[in-house]
């Protein structure tokens, strides 16, 4: 029971100064990790900028998916006008508003990419004026695609084969290489530095704009009278439809621009949906991890209780299954058809130690937690549920790693990856903990709050 209850006052759902863990230790520890991460990153940038580019992208994408998740939670709750999740919404709003921090973290990445320090996208971004460039004048777009396509994939597979150290070095003929570059050249209207940068600015505008809008309106509602609070709810609902569409599009194309284009000859229409599925799962896991701790320490009283955690657990379980469904669909269709330029992406992730990583994701991100979390009992025992949520968050980080790092070549989990994760995660969570300490932890002004507080499962 909350301390507020004991003293007979109405709870204000704020983190009390007496709770050292939530008011101090948490953000201070995050800040320390940020500094450690920063040092590792500076070292990484000096010693191996090429590899560090991948590590840093992994760090940024990890926290960005949490922002996606937060935005999704807040926006979806508004347009479905669901009441079950209102008490946990404030925490999600704070996660979403971390978009600003992630933007700041992203800036050095963009500068590195555009300034030529990071070479992850060089295959297409600098195709015209680096050593990959071709002077064979092979420019007729209308003909000769037929031979070039197969050539492209073969050349590409071999290109990357020698990254791994066991490809056939001399096997790719100049024709094959030309064909490969021909395909990349075809994509130049989309895959070019200017478009990449301009689109990115739009994405950030959407993410920062919507996350700030929702956090601020919701805070404004905390102290508002009933008429004002109703007006704010209607306003937030009104914007949620547009928000959902813009979030869907920006998430998809950001996934294409920042992750899929790491392998420019590869393509998959479902890719954005997979990134979304992982993001959505991660927000429910985060809300459980944070919420259970706050609940146990009496900070949110009974406002987020077993009934809410049960629902959050169901949603986490559901999106975990959805992640498995879309990931399986992508893999199965590509495996079944066996078209070379599509299978390269999975080929890399089945090479050497990456194979274990792929298997670990299948088991850890789906098969094992499926049996663990399917039970109602587990979803209502907060300790077990929290364990499941931490587990899935770790696997979510592994999933983001799986998107990025196999593109850097052979498996090697190194200090640069850890540094980037510490820097990005540390900075993001420093912000989150600091912000949570400033505001009420549940949206006390929401007109539907009473319904959420009285929420009960009927089965």
């Amino acid at each position: 029971m909350s301390s507020a209850k004991k003293t007979g006052k109405k709870p204000d759902y704020r983190i009390p100064a007496s709770d050292v863990l939530w008011s101090k230790t948490a953000w201070q520890a995050s800040a320390v990790l940020t500094v450690v991460g920063l040092l590792l990153c500076v070292f990484g940038f000096m010693s191996d900028p090429e590899r560090f580019g991948y590590s840093y992208l992994f760090g940024v994408m990890t926290v960005l998916t949490l922002v996606f998740g937060g935005l999704f939670y807040v926006i979806a709750l508004h347009f479905t006008t669901g009441h079950w999740g209102i008490t946990a919404r404030r925490i999600a709003e704070v996660f979403a508003s971390g978009a600003i921090v992630v933007f700041v973290l992203w800036l050095p990445f963009a500068a590195g990419v555009l300034g030529g320090k990071f070479s992850l996208y060089d295959e297409w971004m600098r195709a015209h004026h680096d050593d990959h460039g071709h002077e064979d004048g092979h420019h007729d777009h209308d003909h000769d695609h037929h031979s070039s396509l197969l050539g492209a994939s073969v050349a590409y597979a071999q290109d990357h084969g020698h990254d791994d150290g066991h490809g056939a070095h001399g096997a790719h003929t100049p024709q094959m290489e030309a064909a490969h570059h021909h395909v990349i050249e075809h994509k130049a209207p989309y895959l070019n530095a200017t478009r990449w940068a301009i689109f990115a600015l739009f994405y950030w505008l959407i993410w920062i704009g919507f996350s700030q809008f929702y956090l601020r309106r919701s805070l404004e509602q905390d102290g508002a009278d009933r008429a004002k609070s109703i007006a704010l709810s209607l306003k937030m609902k009104k914007w949620s439809a547009l928000g959902a569409i813009l979030l869907g599009l920006s998430l998809t194309f950001a996934a294409f621009d920042w992750l899929m284009s790491l392998e420019p000859s590869w393509y998959s229409t479902i890719f954005g949906v997979i990134v979304f599925a992982g993001s959505a799962m991660s927000i429910f896991a985060l809300l459980i991890v944070f919420g259970v701790s706050l609940h146990r320490r009496g900070i949110v009283g009974n406002a987020i209780n077993t009934e809410h955690f049960h629902d959050l657990g169901k949603m986490m379980f559901g999106f975990m299954c959805f992640w498995a469904y879309v990931s399986f669909s992508q893999w199965m269709l590509i495996w079944y058809a066996g078209i070379p330029e599509e299978s390269t992406w999975f080929q890399k992730r089945w090479d050497g130690a990456w194979k274990l990583w792929s298997l670990a994701l299948m088991l850890g991100h789906f098969a094992l937690p499926f049996y663990f979390l399917i039970s109602r009992m587990v979803k209502r025992r907060l300790g077990m549920l929290q364990f499941g949520a931490v587990w899935l968050l770790v696997l979510h980080v592994a999933d983001v790693y799986f998107f990025v790092l196999p593109q850097a070549g052979r498996f090697s989990l190194n200090h640069l990856d850890i540094g980037a994760l510490l820097l990005c995660g540390g900075a993001f969570f420093t912000y989150v903990f600091r912000t949570l300490a400033k505001h009420p932890l549940i949206p006390t002004g929401d007109p539907r709050l009473a319904r959420s507080l009285h929420h009960h499962q009927s089965h």
């Binding site: 989309y190 479902i270 890719f271 879309v326 269709l333 499962q457």
Partner: protein, 489 residues
């Protein structure tokens, strides 16, 4: 103030008109099966039986003559047959989505449409299964599809997605029928208890499986219902995903793309909702059920269609983008020449002759549901009636576009062809409407078409705490089940 009460300032309203009693619900639903059919029912029923006859005749003709009587040709080895199959399967998605997924999401408004939609699911899947069964050419050998030991030691090829279809569709049909029937039991008992004639009492009594409405019965029922909902939920996704695998596992440009499974599911829900709504509007008018299916229900269904329509639009757009982005000229050819009719011209300088089917699809599926952004349209019966019909047409064209426009102008100009439907194609498709509508109208007449017990559970007086709720935020003590089971009467 009760926390469950609608907050009118936020635009919330109760589902059913204020003051609706349990008895009103029972009367409204049971009356349909107990009184003489209104004239409107006969006006629909007689032509439906006629079309059913047409279907039987067409199947007879087709089996006698062979599939050559269809318009299928080289290179369009699949055409209306599989288009109709996928279309009907898609229609069959709304039922289980509404009854299972919306149940798990506690969407109470589903109670006024779920029974109806579940019945449609069963009938639509029956209609769908006719087409693949016939398209094998020798339907009397269809039993080869099942792993039955036979004298030729032949065994199904489990690597084929067409085999997966057989299992996915049969599983879906089985579970949907059981789920539907389990839900019906308390309502059949209500009909039994109201029966005036002995025959009626015996029939409904047998169907109600000895339901007495005891606490123990309800407890088992609710538990069973929840478990079936949980089993059905992955099935809603798996059936149409497997149907999409029929196409997407191939290497055909236009078919092979990774977004197909979720895209097919979204499209299926979209079309299923559209047909549910089309028929709901008719039945509501014929039987005067305006108090059970209110504008609020219709509004919510229209929002659902808007959302799924946008998802489908997202998939169309991404397919196009990736067709270009892939750098695969065959993909671009299918999308730009065969479908869009823009950009890629053939040697004669022409667009693909079936470009109009793509545009029919886009205007019906993506553009027309955008009208649902306006509340006036979402709550206007004539407008939504027209739009749902557009969506049904559009979703038929979607499958036609996927199948025929991927095939008709393929890799080699020498093998190009076009497609024209024959009278058998058209008559058989219309005939399946006869089968569907006949079964549907019989269902409406003899089986409670609304889930009486479930609707009652959404009424305010079914809530144990409806009258007394303090506004105190902290609520430490535990409540029992939120929704008390409603009596079966």
């Amino acid at each position: 103030m009760s926390a469950a009460a609608p907050i009118t300032e936020l635009g919330e309203r109760s589902l059913l008109p204020e003051g609706t009693t349990f008895n009103d619900v029972t009367e409204a639903v049971c009356r349909v099966t107990e009184t003489k059919a209104p004239r409107g029912w006969w006006i629909l029923f007689l032509p439906s039986v006629g079309l059913l006859g047409l279907m039987v005749a067409c199947i007879g003709y087709l089996v006698t003559m062979g599939v050559g009587v269809w318009g299928n040709n080289s290179p369009n080895y699949w055409a209306w047959d599989i288009t109709n199959f996928v279309w009907w399967i898609g229609i069959g998605h709304a039922g289980t989505l509404i009854s299972a997924i919306l149940f798990l999401f506690r969407q109470n408004w589903r109670t006024s449409i779920n029974r109806f939609a579940e019945a449609m699911t069963v009938f639509a899947v029956l209609c769908a299964s006719i087409f693949p069964a016939l398209h094998t050419g020798r339907p009397w050998f269809d039993y080869y599809l099942f792993p039955i030991p036979n004298q030729m030691a032949m065994w199904p090829n489990f690597k084929s997605p067409l085999m997966w279809d057989v299992f996915a569709v049969n599983t879906y049909l089985t579970i949907s029928v059981i789920f539907w029937y389990v839900g019906l039991i308390p309502d059949l008992a209500t009909l039994r208890d109201r029966s005036k004639s002995l025959l009626r009492k015996r029939i409904y009594g047998a169907l109600a499986l000895g339901w007495r409405g005891s606490h123990r019965h309800w407890q088992h029922y609710e538990r069973g219902y929840l478990i079936f909902a949980a089993i059905s939920t992955p099935l809603v996704l798996s059936v149409h995903s497997v149907v999409s695998f029929d196409f997407a596992t191939s290497v055909m440009p236009g078919w092979h793309t990774t977004i197909f499974p979720p895209y097919f599911v979204a499209g299926a829900v979209f079309s299923g909702f559209a047909l549910v709504l089309t028929l709901m509007l008719i039945v509501r008018a014929v039987f005067g059920l305006h108090n059970l299916v209110t504008l609020k229900h219709l509004d919510l269904m229209n929002k659902f269609m808007l959302a799924t329509g946008i998802m489908v639009g997202y998939a169309y757009a991404l397919e196009f983008f990736i067709a270009w982005y892939s750098g695969n000229p065959y993909e671009s050819w299918v999308f730009f020449h065969n479908r869009l009719g823009f950009g890629y011209l053939d040697e004669m300088g022409n667009w693909g002759p079936l470009w109009w089917s793509y545009w029919a699809m886009v205007s019906c599926n993506v553009i027309s549901p955008q009208l649902f952004w306006f509340k006036r349209i979402r709550t206007s019966i004539p407008a939504m009636f027209v739009i749902t019909i557009f969506i049904n047409i559009g979703m038929w064209f979607e499958r036609f576009v996927i199948i025929v426009t991927s095939l008709y102008r393929d890799f080699l100009p020498g093998s190009w062809g076009s497609f024209e439907a024959t009278w058998v194609d058209i008559a058989l498709y219309l005939g399946t409407f006869g089968l569907f509508m006949t079964l549907f109208l019989l269902f409406v007449r003899w089986i409670p078409m609304f889930a009486i017990a479930e609707i009652k559970a959404t009424l305010p007086h079914a809530h144990p705490h409806a009258e007394h709720h303090d506004d105190e935020h902290e609520h430490a003590h535990d409540h029992g089940a939120e929704v008390a089971p409603a009596p079966a009467e």
